[in-house]
């Protein structure tokens, strides 16, 4: 490795909880040369964020790191706090995940960008100098309006704040930039812009880039090499084109298969059973073994070493060589499907549509006359048994429309008929409101707060079932098994379940109410990719079994492709396009839809890796 880059060897990060020491990440070795971009890919609980923080010396209380991290001729892990501080900002920088909390809310943006320059250098720059530099940095990150420097963070959008954050991070032109999930909190159209910005900065300054992400697509679109982490260990290392074509570890394959493509619908999404173990409850031997399709007895005996399995490619699997062909075949089979064309297109049942919304308008009255128009002249229909998608980014109004259907919000104007009952205008009678609830129910986005933490799963399900017409016809146990959970879970509380399991319980709760249409509001967005596929499969199966209709609200075009027959596209509260899913996604007519489709990073299963 070049002497100018970062070389990390055997980095171990552990946390102290009480008396015991819990391993967060073990034996991490990676390197970044100047101008190189690597991705550290992992799901939640993999330890990727803390690994990056360890390199910068920014670990929280009680977390320590050991190993070696060579950078500009020094070992970062042995440096004093003062020396580390001198390197931060000047040689290495960090951009964090959430642009809404990353900046100091009480200081203007321009000040934050240049404050690293003013301090610690002895000479104080003049005000004019500072303004000039701030303007320069802003231009570099794509903000041409110098007035932004005088704004406070809360006056800017998420994308703008992230750009300001990047400008502040690279203000002193460091050699290495670590970006920790820099686009996760942003809309997909903005995501693409930020990733392009990072890419161009990398080449312009010959800066090394470490991109931490859970999204393989993001990794493939920006980085040269990927390090795949699972439960604290590296399981595969490979140049990204190679990884996309020929993964050598079952987990990498699992990730690639679980990621839904946006250009076609697949028969069955392949998830990975189970969920990621949290630090402290990792199994002995290979951490992936309990979930692996190819495990043998020897896998749980001891942790395999990270062995070289090809040119520049490493995998931590004792069966890596013998599985090479099998893994490649499975991937090729999944990729071999035709582009376009749908696996199934369910025909909607006859009769009046369950939901007819016409010219719906929803205005939220702000304080002091600042009204927010969430929906403007939106018309949507869902027939019995149909699966319809509602696609848009933040501020599109898609969630608002869903909430209107389940009577959590009231539309300001227009007509919304659910099961024949009109919801807008006159006050809805109690009996009618109950009838509407018998027709439409909702599953929410965040699995960690969708269940009452003080109640057992069984109690939650019973409450829902008791409200259904005809009362409780299925026991909690039966409901749980219907969604793929053991009946014994009825005695558990939400804190004892994983994210995916909690979402299943939420679905079971909705089923207990026996609706005919389920509004799914970003139900898989907060889940790990491997779990996402499980839930989507479950939803598809339930639809086939029970003849349910779905209104699927999401920003993710790949997900919407897999599970809907028709979609509506919303932008800033307006309906810009509608039609069969395949048609809209393959041949979008509205410019916004085109931009949305173009923003999706290239998918490994579609064969070609996008241009860089």
């Amino acid at each position: 490795m070049s002497a100018d880059g970062l070389t990390v060897r055997d980095l171990c990060v552990s946390a102290r909880r009480g008396q015991e020491s819990i391993a967060i990440a073990s034996d991490m070795s990676f390197s970044v040369a100047p101008g190189e971009a690597i991705a550290i890919v992992g799901e939640s609980g993999s330890g990727k964020s803390l690994t990056a923080r360890a390199v910068m010396g920014l670990l929280p209380e009680g977390v320590t790191a050991s190993g070696e991290a060579d950078f500009v001729g020094r070992d970062l892990l042995t440096l004093s706090a003062a020396d580390l501080r001198r390197l931060r900002g000047r040689e290495m920088a960090l951009v964090m995940q959430d642009p809404f909390t990353m900046l100091n809310p009480l200081e203007r943006c321009g000040v934050q960008i240049v404050e690293a320059l003013a301090s610690g250098r002895g000479d104080r720059l003049s005000r004019k100098e500072r303004r000039r530099i701030a303007g320069e940095r802003l231009r570099e990150v794509g903000i041409d309006d110098p007035a932004v420097a005088d704004r406070y963070p809360f006056e800017l959008s998420g994308g703008m704040r992230q750009r300001v954050g990047i400008a502040a991070a690279i203000a002193e032109q460091p050699r290495l930039l670590i970006a920790d999930e820099p686009t996760t909190a942003l809309d997909v159209t903005i995501q693409r812009e930020i990733l392009e910005l990072l890419g161009s900065l990398r080449s312009a300054h010959s800066m090394g880039l470490i991109l931490i992400t859970h999204d393989l697509r993001v990794a493939f679109s920006v980085c040269d090499r990927a390090y795949v982490m699972y439960a604290g260990s590296l399981v595969e290392v490979a140049p990204t084109p190679l990884l996309a074509r020929a993964p050598r570890h079952p987990y990498s394959l699992g990730l690639l298969l679980a990621d839904p493509p946006s250009d076609r619908r697949v028969e069955e999404l392949v998830g990975i059973a189970g969920s990621v173990p949290s630090p402290g409850s990792r199994p002995p031997g290979c951490p992936f073994a309990p979930r692996c399709d190819y495990r043998i007895g020897a896998c749980t005996a001891s942790l395999p070493p990270l062995a070289e399995v090809g040119a520049d490619q490493f995998a931590r699997c004792i069966r890596a060589d013998e599985l090479r062909v099998e893994l490649g075949t499975r991937l090729a089979a999944a990729q071999g499907g035709e582009q376009g064309g749908e696996a199934t297109l369910a025909t909607p049942l006859e009769g009046e549509p369950l939901v007819v919304a016409e010219h719906v308008r929803k205005v939220f009255g702000g304080r002091g006359g600042s009204d927010v128009v969430a929906l403007d002249d939106v018309s949507v229909q869902v027939a019995a048994g149909e699966s319809v998608g509602l696609v848009g980014e933040s501020g599109s109004g898609k969630t608002t429309l869903g909430r209107v259907l389940v009577q959590l919000e009231q539309a300001t104007a227009g007509s919304v008929r659910v099961g024949g009952v009109e919801l807008v205008g006159t006050a809805v009678r109690r009996r009618d409101a109950a009838a509407v609830r018998d027709v439409v129910q909702m599953v929410f986005q965040d699995p960690y707060s969708t269940l009452n933490p003080a109640r057992t799963v069984g109690a939650t399900l019973k409450e829902a079932a008791a409200l259904a017409p005809g009362g409780m016809t299925q026991s909690s146990g039966e409901l749980l098994e219907h969604v793929g959970l053991p009946a014994s879970y009825a005695a558990r509380r939400p804190a004892q379940l994983s994210g995916g399991e909690r979402q299943r319980v939420a679905i079971a709760r909705t089923l207990a109410r026996r609706p005919r249409l389920i509004v799914c509001d970003e139900v898989v967005s907060a889940l790990d990719v491997s779990v996402q596929a499980q839930i989507l499969n479950l939803l598809r199966r339930l639809r086939d079994e029970l003849g349910l209709a779905y209104l699927f609200i999401t920003h993710d075009l790949a997900v919407v492709r897999q599970i809907t027959d028709r979609i509506y596209v919303l932008q800033r509260g307006e309906l810009v396009e509608e039609g069969p899913t395949a048609t809209v996604l393959d041949a979008p007519s509205h410019p916004y839809t085109r931009r949305l489709v173009a923003s999706v990073p290239e998918h490994p299963q579609s064969g070609a890796i996008g241009s860089r």
Partner: protein, 291 residues
């Protein structure tokens, strides 16, 4: 898909199920124990006190501690130790009433205000904000002083003016939880509003209420004993620590214990209640931060 249990969450479930009692720091344990002693004194003073608290012996006024009177006697010759023990009842009763009333009322109002929102919330909010600015003790001193209503008036005033503080904290907690999906889910399922408030919101703010109880108790003891110290509230001559401190201050050179003992007793109660309440509050905060 088969109904298979997830091995990883099984481990987590097993761990959280066999959860032992929370680890209590020694200071809090001692505090709780001391409070218990005081409660015992309040409930069965007769068992512990060596003498009657109201037996006047004018000839033995302000005697220093001796074998017969472990803490000496006060100005009227009454046994200080017995009066301190009997005083526990007076010191705890009032604050208990205030604490329970404040919590009950502010919880109900916070649930209504936080859940319903709208003009109810607006009106309540403004009223509470105005009342919040007035220190309960000052208002109590003036009102009880002018109207001379004694104990009942003092309790009522303290209840009314301590509600805003509790209301603000509880309302914030309700509003925080009201926006969560599980509340939305209950509403969209068709759970009636009262059940949503009582079964979904209330159980999740109980830890906050319990923590608040001990803190309210502390404030109540401080406020009521301050009032009785000033001669407002309890009738003269009753075995109340605040009163005792006031009455025996002058005799601080003959028998300091007559004034110091009730003072120390007050310190013990207030500090202990505060330690316990503070620890409970910290635990609530921690749980809130670590999802």
């Amino acid at each position: 898909m088969s109904a298979t249990a997830d091995p990883t969450t099984d481990a987590v479930a097993a761990r959280t199920r066999t959860r032992t009692l929370p680890r209590v720091p020694p200071s809090v344990a001692v505090a709780a124990l001391l409070l218990l002693v005081v409660v015992v004194c309040a409930v069965v003073p007769g068992l512990l006190a060596p003498d009657s608290p109201s037996q006047i012996n004018p000839l033995e006024g302000l005697q220093p501690p001796s074998a017969a009177h472990l803490l000496g006697t006060d100005a009227l010759g009454r046994d200080v130790l017995s009066r301190v023990i009997y005083g526990a009842r007076s010191v705890l009763t009032g604050p208990l009433i205030v604490a329970i009333a404040v919590l009950a009322i502010s919880t109900a109002l916070a649930l209504l205000s936080g859940y319903r929102g709208g003009w109810v919330d607006g009106v309540l909010g403004r009223t509470m904000d105005t009342l919040y600015a007035l220190p309960p003790l000052i208002v109590a001193i003036v009102l009880v002083g002018v109207f001379g209503g004694g104990y009942t008036l003092a309790i009522c005033v303290l209840i009314v003016f301590n509600i805003p503080n509790s209301f603000r904290a509880l309302r914030a907690a309700v509003v925080e939880r009201r926006g969560l999906p599980y509340v939305d889910a209950a509403r969209s399922l068709g759970v009636p509003p009262r059940r949503v408030m009582l079964q979904h919101l209330l159980p999740n703010i109980v830890p906050l209420i319990v923590a608040g109880f001990f803190l309210r108790l502390t404030y109540g003891v401080v406020e009521l004993s301050s009032l009785s110290f000033l001669g407002l509230g309890v009738p003269p001559g009753s075995a109340d620590w605040g009163r005792m401190l006031a009455e025996n201050r002058a005799g601080i050179f003959e028998n300091a214990w007559a004034a110091i003992a009730p003072g120390v007793a007050l310190v013990v109660v207030t500090v202990s209640a505060n330690f316990v309440g503070d620890w409970l509050y910290e635990r609530v905060e921690q749980k809130r931060r670590s999802r």
